[in-house]
């Protein structure tokens, strides 16, 4: 934490985002927000409520439902000196603007020999749990971690939500900030002033001694709950939240694994091809000699996100899935 904040109070995750955006708009005249229903309506998740009234429609801009147009507008604005903060309402909608993100935004700096600076922040909302079915519930962070030129952030609590967003907006590279819609009501201590949580720095959320769970976004809370439960098994679980997936702070993760000798990675995205596979690979590269067990992965099963509450409950990983997987890993040990 680069800035020591003087005053904190308990507030919600959504308020943390709103406050970050308000303070960023105040601090930097080149910052503007745009996206679908971000202005008059205040964002469908309330993350920009009241900001149009405060900063005017020039700086808090309602756009048509045109994701490619929105992201492209941010690229052109950033290339000419502005610092756009774009909201793609649901992460699933990135499908209609992938070219602008992947072929334009991510590559422009490199293709132009370093001459373009593109401080674009794309905020978007991932995750299931609200029965919004297959096109409003996905966690697609792995797509973007795979693309050189992009940075990817997934906060897991109100403090990080504000600090990471501030860092993302102030960063001179394109950053996707992926929030989870189930966390919006989550309460936590949040400093009143502007502060940054640096990009690329993982956090040890819970210290432990003999098992590491690397968990992202909403899975951090599930991992903490699992850790409590696993205490009964005699495990003292350490929980590490990477916070930034690209660039990935493998050192903090590897340090933890070298200490605990066993690890599991948990994310909400589909397990196959998820970022967990990359993290596991890097753990074995960095800490192979320290491992006492195969490194496990928890993720969603290989299906689209189902609508029915009965099925969605099976789909999204949770404390129990994590506990089961940890026990399976341990059970394999002789």
């Amino acid at each position: 934490m680069t800035t020591t904040a003087q005053r904190t109070r308990t507030t919600s995750y959504v308020n943390a985002i709103l406050e970050a955006q308000r303070q960023l708009l105040t601090a930097d005249p080149n910052v503007f927000l745009c996206g679908e229903d971000v202005a008059l309506y205040g964002g469908v998740f309330g993350t920009s409520r009241g900001l149009m009234a405060e900063f005017g429609p020039q700086r808090v801009v309602d756009t048509p439902i045109s994701e490619s147009g929105i992201v492209g507008m941010a690229i052109g604005a950033a290339a000419t000196g502005l610092r756009p903060v774009v909201e793609i309402m649901f992460m699933d909608f990135v499908g209609v603007c992938m070219d602008q993100i992947v072929n334009q935004l991510a590559k422009m700096r490199y293709m132009f020999g370093g001459k373009a600076t593109l401080p674009v922040t794309i905020r978007t909302m991932a995750g299931g749990g609200r029965n919004m079915a297959a096109q409003h519930s996905q966690s697609l962070e792995a797509w973007f971690c795979h693309v050189p030129g992009l940075k990817v952030v997934m906060p897991s609590n109100p403090y990080d939500a504000k600090g990471l967003l501030v860092a993302a907006v102030r960063d001179d590279d394109p950053v996707l900030v992926i929030d989870n819609k189930m966390q919006l009501g989550m309460q936590g201590e949040v400093p009143e002033d502007l502060y940054e949580v640096p990009l690329g720095k993982a956090r040890v959320v819970r210290e432990g001694t003999n098992f590491t769970i690397v968990a992202t976004s909403r899975m951090v809370q599930e991992a903490l709950a699992a850790a409590e439960q696993l205490g009964a098994d005699g495990l003292n679980v350490e929980v590490v939240d990477p916070r930034t997936l690209q660039p990935l702070d493998i050192e903090t993760i590897a340090t933890s694994v070298r200490k605990t000798h066993r690890a599991l990675v948990a994310h909400e995205a589909v397990r196959f091809g998820g970022i967990g596979g990359e993290i596991v690979a890097q753990i074995q590269e960095e800490a192979f000699d320290y491992l006492d067990a195969p490194v496990g992965r928890v993720g969603a099963p290989f299906s689209p996100v189902p609508f029915s509450p009965a099925l969605e409950a099976l789909y999204v990983p949770n404390r129990d899935t994590i506990v089961t997987e940890v026990r399976r890993i341990l059970g394999k040990q002789v």
Binding site: P64, G72, G76, A77, T80, P84, N103, G113, D171
Partner: protein, 327 residues
């Protein structure tokens, strides 16, 4: 109205811009055929009047977005031949340090926001630059070049709608050369005039003869002035023709068009037409025109020599410039 001298200066300027494009492209084509330039080249020969006529109105603070056929736009915007050829050769001295090549050639200092390997990639970026011009309270405009093929991409429609909605200072310049890559226009869209689509977004749509640099220049001037006045975007369709193939040089003896058609359009070569007009108007004799060609050819030869001799990027460059602030 410009006075006589200013006007003659403008005419000579337009001529030189077109000649520079033609010479740059023809030489690039030769280098490609000789195997000296790696990768793919999409050459602008035949369409010079569009880039020259539009860009002559712009300063370095006005931006353009370009296409895969982008050399002409950068040349018209004042691109340095040496840095351009060096980029085409993949050399470290190139505009993009050799990391972009033909399809991504750019010079942000000149307001050239990049050629683009994705058809339809440019329009959303163009409205962003235009948004920025307006946001920053400037009078600058953005010209978005795109083709008849790109007009079928969703990005064009999104950008056109947003530009009109936000009254952005952007000019959508459609270089309708009658082909989307190798597919004739009547086989890729049911409409013939892209300008017809302007009404669908609530902006004026205008057609000009894209082989007549003065027609393009005058219409673009009006559209740009309108944008600078804050009255919003215009769709300017320039009817033009690609003398060469979609990629490379060969333009005749191909399956997707008749040679007779190419020859018919070549009769309306924008540079020949303009030189004949300049001679009639007493602005530039055939000898004076020939001198411009000579001068530009020599500029190109010097630049090619420079580019050929320039070193390739060092290995370390591979991982540079992925991020502005690597973590």
């Amino acid at each position: 109205m410009v006075d006589g001298n200013e006007e003659e200066q403008l005419l000579r300027d337009l001529h030189r811009r077109m000649v520079r494009i033609r010479v740059f492209e023809e030489e690039a084509g030769k280098l490609m055929e000789q195997g000296k330039i790696p990768g793919a080249l999409h050459l602008y020969v035949g369409e010079e009047a569009v880039a020259a006529g539009v860009i002559a109105h712009l300063s370095a603070e006005d931006q353009i977005t370009s296409t895969h056929r982008g050399h002409g736009h950068l040349v018209a915007k004042g691109g340095d031949f040496r840095l351009m050829y060096a980029e085409l050769f993949g050399k470290a001295a190139g505009y993009c340090k050799g990391k972009g090549g033909s399809m991504h050639i750019a010079d942000l200092d000149l307001g050239m926001l990049g050629a683009n390997g994705i058809v339809g990639g440019g329009p959303p970026i163009a409205i962003g630059a235009a948004f920025s011009n307006k946001y920053r309270g400037t009078q600058h405009v953005t010209c978005c070049f795109f083709g008849d093929g790109a007009s079928n991409e969703g990005t064009f429609h999104e950008a056109a709608n947003m530009a009109a909605l936000f009254k952005l200072p952007v000019i959508f310049v459609c270089e309708n050369n009658g082909f989307g890559e190798f597919t004739r226009q009547d086989r890729h869209q049911a409409v013939r005039d892209i300008a017809d689509r302007a009404a669908g977004y609530g902006m004026p749509g205008v057609i000009v003869d894209g082989m007549d640099v003065l027609a393009v220049h005058e219409a673009a001037g009006e559209a740009i002035a309108r944008a600078r006045r804050g009255e919003g975007p215009t769709l300017l369709e320039c009817k033009t023709y690609r003398f060469f193939d979609h990629v490379g040089v060969r333009g005749m003896g191909v399956v997707y068009r008749e040679d007779s058609e190419v020859l018919e359009w070549r009769k309306r070569d924008p540079i020949t037409l303009f030189e004949s007009h300049l001679a009639d108007a007493g602005v530039m004799s055939a000898d004076a025109a020939a001198a411009v060609w000579l001068e530009v050819r020599s500029e190109a030869q010097d630049a090619i020599t420079f580019a050929e001799q320039a070193p390739y990027p060092a290995s370390a460059a591979l991982l540079e410039d992925v991020y502005a602030t690597p973590v």
